[in-house]
């Protein structure tokens, strides 16, 4: 699972008011090369929760992203490369996602998060 997906996912348990962001418990991180695509990053930047991305990439062991970002920074290739690496190249292979409110764990196996809810959580 990439951090792009982590940035979109929220806990869906009944009664949870703010299930975003899910905390990451790291088991194993894999890096896969992705070609730089400035158009996609620029399109996504407006939708990203940047703070959450910075936090998540730190948990995954990548601390090069600047703490603050502005749309003007999208012109610099250096920043785009860092964003590309954090957003698309870091994969959480094994581990878990934890709901911030209830502490419920969603296990991640082979890079696939199991977001299935139990009957009483729907």
């Amino acid at each position: 699972m990439r951090l792009l997906t982590h940035n979109m996912l929220a806990s869906n348990i009944k009664g949870v008011a703010n299930g975003f962001p899910l905390k990451i418990e790291v088991g194993q991180v894999v890096e896969k090369h992705v070609d730089l695509n400035p158009e996609f990053l620029k399109n996504m930047f407006a939708k990203l929760d940047y703070k959450v991305l910075v936090e998540a990439s730190k948990t995954m062991g990548y601390a090069d992203l600047p703490e603050q970002a502005e749309p003007s920074m999208l012109e610099s290739e250096d920043f785009l490369r860092k964003l590309n690496h954090a957003l698309l190249e870091l994969h959480l292979e094994e581990g878990a996602l934890v709901c911030p409110e209830t502490g419920r764990k969603f296990p991640v196996n082979k890079g696939i998060p199991n977001m299935l809810l139990h009957e009483d959580e729907v």
């Binding site: 869906n12 996504m44 890079g111």
Partner: protein
């Protein structure tokens, strides 16, 4: 065999390792899935500005539909309930991210971030109650409400569905409308039983010019019932048989099917979506006597 998969078992049970294997080995399934997703992407009508979008594939299965999205340069997130199918997707090295989840429990996705959603042959599963805690109406509502939230304003969602009957289609469409979607059903090749495919084309937001439902393939302007009635009138000409001709010849003449009949049949085949040769001056022309 002809029975619908929805009636046999819940999706996470039906799509077991054996069934999932078919999605890598059967070239027919692969081809059909690719065609369906190609058409769904066409109906999605994404702006043609070369900017890759973030799309959602609901019921992505083995990632066959996602491959079409990747080929067109988009990033995607796939959701499926069957672990076996997702394993196959991993084997196929699908580019998108995969999530094991149940669409009937709602999509746990942040509001307004997705640029479009497709789903191939999946939404009709929501109409089944596979567990005692399942209520199709609640599940449909949860699905469409959460989808509406997660889509950006003006984004589209295209679902290819196989509704079991009219009531099921109404049910699905009804809940989509209640969630706030505008749109309707596009039926490709409505006259053919095999090639007939239904697509739910939904737009996030109030109805507008841009949310008008696109035109279906293989559909005629004039309704077919009009066509046939005019043909019948043509056939109703009063014929006076030549009583001086021998009996045998009289019978023969009656059976010969003329150019009109051939043209009518070809038109019928065309409406079904079959490949039919052009109409030319040679169509249904009689051979010379010396042949």
């Amino acid at each position: 065999m002809a029975s619908r998969p929805e009636l046999q078992a819940p999706p996470e049970v039906f799509y077991n390792d054996d069934e999932a294997r078919k999605y890598t080995s059967s070239s027919r399934i692969i081809e059909i899935q690719a065609q369906l997703s190609e058409r769904a992407l066409e109906l999605l009508a994404l702006p043609n500005d070369g900017v890759p979008k973030l799309l959602l594939d609901i019921g992505c299965g083995s990632g066959l539909s996602g491959e079409t999205l990747t080929e067109n340069g988009h990033q995607w997130i796939g959701l499926d309930i069957s672990p076996s199918m997702l394993d196959v997707a991993l084997e196929r090295d699908s580019e998108g991210d995969l999530i094991l989840g149940d669409m009937g429990q709602g999509l746990g996705i942040r509001p307004g971030v997705i640029d479009g959603a497709i789903s191939i042959s999946a939404v009709q599963w929501l109409c089944n109650a596979d567990k005692s805690c399942h209520e199709p109406r609640k599940r449909l509502k949860a699905f469409f409400d959460s989808l509406y939230r997660s889509l950006a304003r003006g984004a589209r969602a295209v679902f290819q569905v196989y509704p079991e009957n009219l009531a099921q289609r109404e049910l699905i469409l009804g809940y989509a409308m209640r969630a706030g979607f505008a749109g309707g059903v596009v039926v490709d090749f409505p006259h053919s039983t095999k090639r007939r495919k239904e697509y739910l084309v939904l737009t996030c937001g109030p109805p507008s010019l841009s949310s008008a439902t696109p035109k279906a393939k293989g559909e005629d302007e004039e309704s077919c019932s009009d066509d046939e009635s005019s043909d019948d009138e043509g056939n109703q000409t009063v014929s006076i048989s030549d009583r001086h001709r021998p009996r045998k010849k009289q019978k023969l003449n009656k059976k010969v099917k003329g150019r009109e009949w051939v043209l009518k049949k070809k038109e019928q085949m065309r409406r079904k979506g079959n490949v039919v040769p052009q109409d030319t001056k040679y169509t249904a022309r009689k051979r010379k006597a010396r042949f």
